[in-house]
């Protein structure tokens, strides 16, 4: 096997997983913006969640102190990541678990596939997990003849609808109840044809549909919200009970976890278990949180495998400004407050990590060149920074990444010409007179020919005034 030089942080490889979109953000966003149903669904959902979250955050008198603690714990974790991972590995192993290390998506998919085969299973049930979405585990399992069954309601809607997730917390946020009913009627075997679009009826249909799967599937795959280095404890935070089913009923449990999810101490959970539910679903506490340490004889899976995933995270860690993106606890509060996300939805971002956090995380995981438009998918209004429960300064990272994005050659040439013109007063005055000609470019620059159309695709050209200041001054 070929390996890059030991010690060089590496980005996530192309050709596997879901970190790269098929087209740049502006093109995908324009199409999303023309979907009126999508915009209504998103506007309704994000307004609901913002209101709920604000109410329960307002109940906590020490919310600012909890945020500051959460931020500090994550900074400390990143500074000590190698030793904490070694500590976690030792604790999980001592408790009867097996730890695997995966340098990238290809390796992680191979490890999980091999483990499922060793367990003699041809079907796995899955708890919603961003890490396994990121590496494209479902596709890898299917290619190996193993059927992955998503058990989270929203993931099930996405899987049955042959769709892509569009939100970190609620992957089917772009679907309303009528659309979900149609998907169930079309793709859920044995569904009652009289199914209504009442959310309770839809949830009950999912309960019936998955019950047999839970009882008969011998291997489950999960992600992890937190892993405590000192005790080896894993934690999964969920609502429906599908997580408990997957973490309790099978013989073998495989957990795939990004290496940044480790936290140093048991006590640190007291900060994140208060921050996450209130910022995420807008609940004081989510209905179910499961914590387990290795294997418990006679209770739950008797084989536990933990897969520690790098897949570009070491490259993110290597950037002292950008590494703050690794502090993310995947609450999705930044998506819900973002004026860009609220209008375009998650698919426009291309990656499984959409919204403001996706715009700083995805380009760093892949290398900025592979997601060059994402750092610009923001108005830099700062709402994400205010909403983030661990105080990630997303706007500053966006600006930092913009400086690394490769600029189109035409834009670089135009900027150089502009700089020269501004250095020469006579040229500058002439240019201002000529600017009136830019009316030929059409409203907001939409009529510009290539290559200038590329620049105007994501920017509005200002309307030039009838007279420049210098003309007005001369004629005064």
């Amino acid at each position: 096997m070929t390996r890059s030089f030991l010690g060089m942080p590496a980005t996530a490889p192309p050709g596997v997983g879901h970190l790269r979109g098929a087209e740049p953000f502006p093109a995908a966003a324009r199409r999303a913006l023309s979907d009126a149903q999508l915009r209504r669904n998103l506007g309704h959902a994000t307004t609901t969640i913002r209101t709920k979250s604000a109410a329960v955050v307002g109940e906590v008198p020490d919310w600012p102190q909890l945020r500051a603690a959460g931020r500090a714990i994550k900074s400390d974790t990143m500074a000590r990541l190698p030793e904490l991972l070694e500590q976690l590995e030792a604790a999980v192993t001592a408790a009867g678990g097996t730890v695997h290390w995966a340098a990238d998506a290809v390796e992680a998919n191979r490890i999980v596939t091999d483990l499922v085969r060793e367990a003699g299973a041809d079907r796995v049930m899955k708890v919603k997990s961003m890490a396994t979405q990121e590496i494209g585990l479902n596709e890898a399992l299917e290619a190996a003849g193993i059927e992955p069954v998503e058990t989270d309601l929203a993931e099930l809607i996405v899987q049955l609808g042959d769709d892509r997730p569009s939100h970190i917390l609620v992957p089917a946020i772009h679907r309303n109840r009528a659309e979900i009913r149609e998907i169930f009627l079309r793709a859920m075997p044995g569904v009652d044809p009289a199914l209504t679009d009442e959310p309770a009826a839809l949830a009950a249909a999912a309960r019936r549909h998955l019950r047999e799967t839970f009882l008969s599937t011998r291997v489950a795959v999960s992600g992890a919200n937190f892993a405590v280095a000192e005790s080896g404890t894993l934690a999964v935070v969920e609502s429906e009970g599908n997580g408990r089913m997957c973490l309790t009923l099978p013989e073998t449990l495989i957990t795939v976890m990004g290496i940044e999810k480790v936290i140093p101490t048991w006590r640190d959970l007291e900060v994140f278990l208060q921050l996450l539910p209130r910022a995420s679903t807008g609940e004081r506490m989510n209905p179910y949180t499961s914590m387990w340490t290795g294997v418990t004889p006679g209770d739950g899976p008797q084989a536990f495998h933990l897969v520690l995933l790098d897949n570009g995270r070491s490259a993110v860690l290597a950037d002292p400004v950008g590494r703050e993106a690794l502090h993310c606890i995947r609450c999705s509060a930044c998506l819900n407050v973002c004026p860009v996300y609220e209008r375009t939805g998650g698919h426009a971002y291309g990656s499984v990590y959409p919204g403001p956090i996706g715009a700083v995380l995805s380009p760093q995981l892949t290398g900025v060149a592979d997601n060059a438009s994402l750092p610009f998918a923001s108005s830099l209004c700062g709402a994400c920074y205010d909403a983030c429960p661990v105080m990630i300064d997303i706007p500053s990272i966006l600006v930092h990444l913009r400086s690394q994005a490769p600029h189109p050659r035409a834009e670089a040439a135009a900027m150089a010409a502009a700089a020269y013109t501004m250095d020469h007063p006579a040229l500058y005055a002439a240019a201002q007179r000529a600017a009136k000609l830019s009316r030929l470019a059409g409203p907001r620059g939409r009529g510009l020919p290539p290559p200038l159309s590329g620049w105007a695709a994501s920017r509005d050209l200002p309307q030039p005034p009838p007279r420049s200041f210098r003309q007005w001054w001369a004629e005064r």
């Binding site: 500090a72 991972l85 340098a103 609502s239 914590m291």
Partner: protein, 205 residues
């Protein structure tokens, strides 16, 4: 590294150490001036409010009256019983099915389950189970549709930090806040997906 394949473990740890070779990556001091364990007084009424708010049914009674409440909720039905459950909590009207390593199918076919708890958090309306003998294996509180949980008032703490300080990370822990729910359809909370759809909490004084 000549003559030996580099393992993924060595590769990742090497990458991370190289990434941290940049300046400004010293371990950080964590400010813990939030409300820590022991700093907030317990208020049982807060627990009742929070449980009710998340659609759990709450009953308050003397310890001797637990069986009466269980009879009201699960009378004439089949109930899974963890090995260490106090027998006087069960009325004669229920059919007790002791969990002696019952299969998942058997547990799923039973109507309800009665357990104790390890600790409860008032502020969040959360019950924590730690698989002690009076609570049993995790599976028995998952498959039956009705969960009756009996809580002593002295097991109630005020905040999440209080609860974490009381439980043992080496036991399997299940934190339960209301019945199974989802917010996946238009972000509205709907009770009743895969876990028990009815959660009854009996607080004894």
């Amino acid at each position: 590294m000549v003559g030996r394949a580099v393992t993924a473990r060595e590769l990742i740890l090497g990458r991370l150490r190289a990434a941290l070779a940049e300046p400004g990556t010293a371990p950080a001091e964590v400010p813990r001036d939030y409300r820590s364990a022991g700093s907030v007084a317990v208020d049982l009424d807060v627990l009742v409010h929070r449980l009710t708010d998340y659609r759990a049914a709450v009953h308050r009674c003397a310890e001797a009256d637990v069986a009466r409440i269980v009879d009201e909720v699960l009378g004439h039905r089949r109930v899974v019983v963890p090995p260490g459950l106090p027998r006087h909590w069960l009325p004669d009207s229920v059919t007790a099915v002791p969990d002696d390593n019952l299969t998942a199918e058997r547990i799923a076919a039973v109507d309800g389950v009665v357990t104790a708890a390890a600790v409860a958090v008032a502020e969040t309306g959360t019950i924590v189970l730690d698989a002690a003998p009076d609570q049993g294996r995790r599976i028995i509180t998952l498959l039956p549709d009705v969960h009756v949980c009996v809580l002593r008032a002295d097991q109630v703490v005020a905040t999440v930090p209080d609860a974490l300080a009381r439980v043992d990370p080496h036991r399997p822990l299940t934190w339960i806040s209301g019945p199974s729910a989802t917010s996946d359809i238009e972000l509205n909370r709907v009770e009743g997906v895969h876990g028990p759809r009815d959660l009854h909490v009996i607080i004894t004084t």
